[in-house]
Symmetry: C2
Subunit: 153 residues, 2 copies
């Protein structure tokens, strides 16, 4: 088990526009409950099966396995539709890696930036394009964007 | 994806008693719905994560991944309790492999024999200790034995 410690923010402006096109991620959920998630994700030609436990504060247990792309394509068909689709950009700033997700489809218009930390109290510097923190707003969980997509907020 | 084509029978007598102790299987379900199952299983020191789709007749899609034993032990703790526990015996008969599951815990007293086929119409010979077919009786699905264990039938 890895521990996922993540903070999530809204994005101000369009810091990704000067970058090469981000990787298209397509992901679905075999299970999306508040205390347990089973996610299938395709990014480019690679695919992952990920299980997440219940979050305690910022910390969440995560078990992740690379799986064959063709398996993932089949498993995505088992998931609740539509899938979550987004372009992911990775932007380095002050020795930290920010992941900027630009959603499309039913979540078009939503852009969030995430940073993975080694501990809940780890300090970091925010780039100027990082806005309001939404870590604890469950609407922004990808697993909740399925049932409550951004276009309907 | 593999296709799982399986028939399940009750067992008459105790054909496993003359065999060496079977492997202890401990399994739990991250998800156990009629059309989708995510199962974690430990057998000896090996562990599998298995996803099964909806059964159509005898046929069910199955995606199976070996995972580290320590991951499986952690994931079993995420599953609904108690776990399903059983001893599995593998008995060859007429060039086919029968799996005989002798349940313990809340399902003690239940013994079933399963055979995996290459097609729904594949003929096979039943050993004399193979009794009534229960393939289509959903009470015998391991994923249902959780909520309705054999001791309460």
């Amino acid at each position: 088990m890895a521990l996922e410690i993540e903070r999530k923010f809204l994005v101000v402006g369009t810091p990704w526009e000067s970058l090469p096109q981000g990787a298209l991620m397509r992901q679905g959920y075999l299970l999306a409950s508040p205390d347990k998630v089973v996610r299938v994700r395709i990014e480019g030609d690679s695919a992952m099966l990920t299980i997440k436990g219940k979050a305690v504060g910022l910390v969440r247990g995560e078990w992740e396995y690379a799986i064959p792309f063709t398996d993932a394509a089949e498993l995505l068909a088992l998931c609740e539709q539509p899938l979550i689709e987004k372009y992911r950009y990775r932007i380095a700033f002050d020795n930290m890696l920010w992941e900027v997700d630009v959603f499309i489809g039913d979540n078009a218009g939503l852009v969030v930036a995430e940073i993975e930390l080694d501990s809940e109290s780890q300090p970091f510097t925010k780039p100027e394009w990082v806005g309001k923190e939404v870590t604890h707003d469950v609407r922004y969980l990808n697993s909740n964007l399925l049932s409550h997509p951004f276009v309907r907020w």
